[in-house]
């Protein structure tokens, strides 16, 4: 129904379009019809693109998606009416026919020996291509912070890409593909694996961070399961272990990469109230599990769901994990 609605809006808006009078070919403020506190309504001139209009009217070309999503088009024809929302009318993405959900994909290793936990570089490239071709917009993990506070809208079909453990193959195989598509991703590393034979080095991580595409966030110190005390571990020792597992990677990442730390990935996806309390004390804003599923704006930020991408699954199975909207009739 949501698609039908969007289509009807697009049809109506296209019907509104009148050919651009000669002499109005140059893009610029003269194409503005009207402005209110809520909207700018203008007639697209030749050369007007969503990015150009976003730069001109919203002050940031990266906000092109705001215009594209509202008008339900990716490009304009001269004379077409364009409505630019000036505020954030629906930051949580909740509509009468359902609500937006953001899938977070979780990869581990990449390599030629395909197995459950190893995705081949070709398959990864095909999956990223699928996202690009099907109008998914890969957003940063940190973009979810304000989305979950109901303060910031995300593009329709927003998706987050993450990789766990910090395997060197993320640098060797995934990073070139991310660069090719211009997709951001978050790599969760655990401190003791940094510099191991198949582990990322700080130098490799620095290079990826410098690209502006890759964010490095903590996945514990030793990859121990934080969900429960180990046999023979008393409560004091357990609390101390949680503290070290949370604090050490935060310190390491801050020191070696000089980037803000905001999201923790639980080893094995397991957590409990003690762990969450300690994360809050250390100013972590988000934490991710491996409970499969997508996240609405009202998701609990310290137990975000993530869907694991397995190497032995085909593209159809991959596509099924990309639930970006939950249909519900809310009228």
């Amino acid at each position: 129904m949501r698609n039908a609605l969007a289509l009807s809006v697009a049809l109506v808006l296209c019907a509104c379009a009148t050919p651009a009078p000669s002499g109005r070919a140059k893009p610029g403020p003269e194409s503005v019809v009207h402005r209110s506190n809520d909207f700018i309504v203008l007639t697209a001139a030749k050369g007007d693109t969503p990015a150009a209009l976003a730069r001109r009217h919203l002050g940031d070309a990266a906000k092109a998606w705001v215009i594209e999503d509202f008008n339900n088009v990716r490009e304009f024809t001269p004379g077409q009416e364009v409505v630019i929302p000036l505020g954030t009318p629906n930051p949580a993405g909740i509509y009468a026919n359902g609500y937006q959900t953001v899938p977070i994909l979780c990869y581990h290793r990449f390599g030629g020996d395909k197995s459950k936990m190893v995705v081949t570089p070709d398959d990864f490239a095909r999956q990223m291509e699928y996202l690009a071709q099907h109008d998914y917009r890969v957003v940063r993990m940190s973009d979810l912070i304000e989305f979950l506070q109901g303060k910031r809208a995300l593009p329709k079909r927003a998706v987050v890409v993450t990789m766990d453990d910090g395997y060197k193959s993320a640098y060797q195989h995934a990073f070139p593909t991310l660069r090719r598509f211009g997709f951001p991703a978050t790599i969760f590393v655990y401190s003791e694996y940094v510099g191991a034979r198949e582990g990322l080095t700080w130098k490799e991580m620095q290079e990826m961070v410098a690209s502006g595409l890759v964010d490095i966030q903590p996945h514990s110190k030793t990859h121990s399961n934080l969900g429960f005390a180990q046999p023979g571990e008393d409560d004091a020792a357990y609390q101390q272990r949680i503290q070290a597992e949370i604090q050490v990677p935060l310190r390491d990442i801050s020191k070696n990469l000089n980037i803000p730390v905001h999201t923790f990935a639980y080893p094995y996806g397991d957590t409990n109230k003690d762990v969450i309390d300690q994360l809050k004390q250390r100013d972590y804003r988000l934490a991710v599990t491996v409970q499969p599923g997508s996240n609405a704006a009202f998701a609990y930020p310290y137990m975000l769901q993530r869907s694991m991408v397995f190497g032995d699954e085909d593209l159809d199975t991959f596509a099924k994990q990309l639930g970006a909207f939950q249909d519900v009739d809310l009228r």
Partner: protein, 312 residues
């Protein structure tokens, strides 16, 4: 107010608002203002859309269309009226949905509460308190899933594990592969990751013990006696019955380490008595039966005492 009654109110509101919106557009009523041609032609489709959305009960969508019309025609009072009427209706309906939702929440009827709070948010998407109320329901849902998983993990101690998680299974498989390929460091790391979730699995404990034993043997050959002994101890920790780690292997390592420290003590005795004492003590730590080290320790301590007396 029940959900059924609320639906009745919505239907009535649709009738009223649709009647208002369907009034014919009076060109003469348009204020004398400079409106571009494209703005004029845009009016009818947006108005149709607004009316259609209202008829379908899609009030938030209708409101956007009225606001676009008010943007295009800022001096046309009718659109401002439509905006205000739709906003009033939305506020009223959202409050009603919220009331039904909160009441359901109090009764523990999470399904109804969730639906009603979502309906309220669909009407007023910026209401932060609604988002928080929904988040409490969501927290309860994900927490129940997590608790069930932890409960299952706790019950798997010291017995064969079934229904292992995908991630853990893959760590175990990777560890087994690395063990077969002779990468014992990698095998230990991956199997330990599996054991972090299933600490009692006897099969994994045996495998990691074997990997530690193999590592110890390699390190013994390379002369890395300390590392070898530490790994022997780990191998025993995971499997006390490990056949490759019999008491002789550990005794031999301890004896070799004791000899190494004894030799260091002898070398230090000529120039640094304090260090020599430390080395002989270390040698005895590894092998309390090391007679030569015991004799040399006594000798070094005597010399040390004598030197101290001379110094006084």
């Amino acid at each position: 107010m029940t959900a059924a009654l609320l639906r009745g109110c919505v239907a009535l509101a649709v009738l009223v608002l649709t009647a208002c919106a369907s009034q014919p557009y009076d060109e003469s009523a348009e204020p004398a203002q400079v409106v571009t041609k494209s703005a004029k032609t845009a009016v009818t489709p947006h108005e149709k859309l607004a009316t259609s959305f209202t008829e379908q009960g899609l009030f938030a969508d209708a409101l956007l269309q009225w606001k676009i019309l008010a943007t295009l025609h800022p001096d046309d009072a009718r659109y401002k009226t439509h905006v205000r009427q739709t906003e009033d209706l939305i506020a009223k309906l959202a409050t009603q949905h919220q009331r039904v939702g909160n009441s359901a929440l109090d009764k523990g009827d999470y399904a109804t509460a969730r639906h009603e709070l979502l309906a309220a948010l669909a009407l007023e998407p910026t209401r932060a308190e609604l988002l928080e109320a929904l988040r409490r329901i969501e927290y309860d849902r994900v927490w129940r899933i997590q608790s069930a998983k932890l409960e299952k993990l706790k019950t798997t101690e010291d017995r064969k594990v079934t229904g292992v998680g995908e991630q853990e299974r893959s760590y175990f498989e990777l560890g087994t592969l690395m063990f077969r390929e002779g990468d014992y460091t990698g095998a230990v790391r991956e199997i330990q990751k599996y054991l972090n979730s299933y600490p009692g699995d006897p099969q994994a404990k045996k495998l990691i013990s074997d990997a530690y034993a193999k590592l110890a043997a390699q390190q013994r050959q390379q002369g890395l006696l300390h590392n070898a002994l530490a790994n022997v101890e780990q191998a025993k920790r995971f499997n006390t019955d490990n056949a490759t780690i019999n008491s002789k292997v550990e005794q031999d390592l301890r004896a070799a380490l004791a000899d190494e420290y004894y030799e260091k003590g002898l070398r230090a005795q000529r120039s640094d008595l304090k260090l020599a004492v430390e080395m002989f003590e270390k040698a005895l730590e590894y092998n309390p039966q090391h007679t030569k080290a015991r004799l040399k320790l006594a000798e070094a301590q005597r010399m040390q005492k004598r030197l101290e007396e001379i110094g006084k």
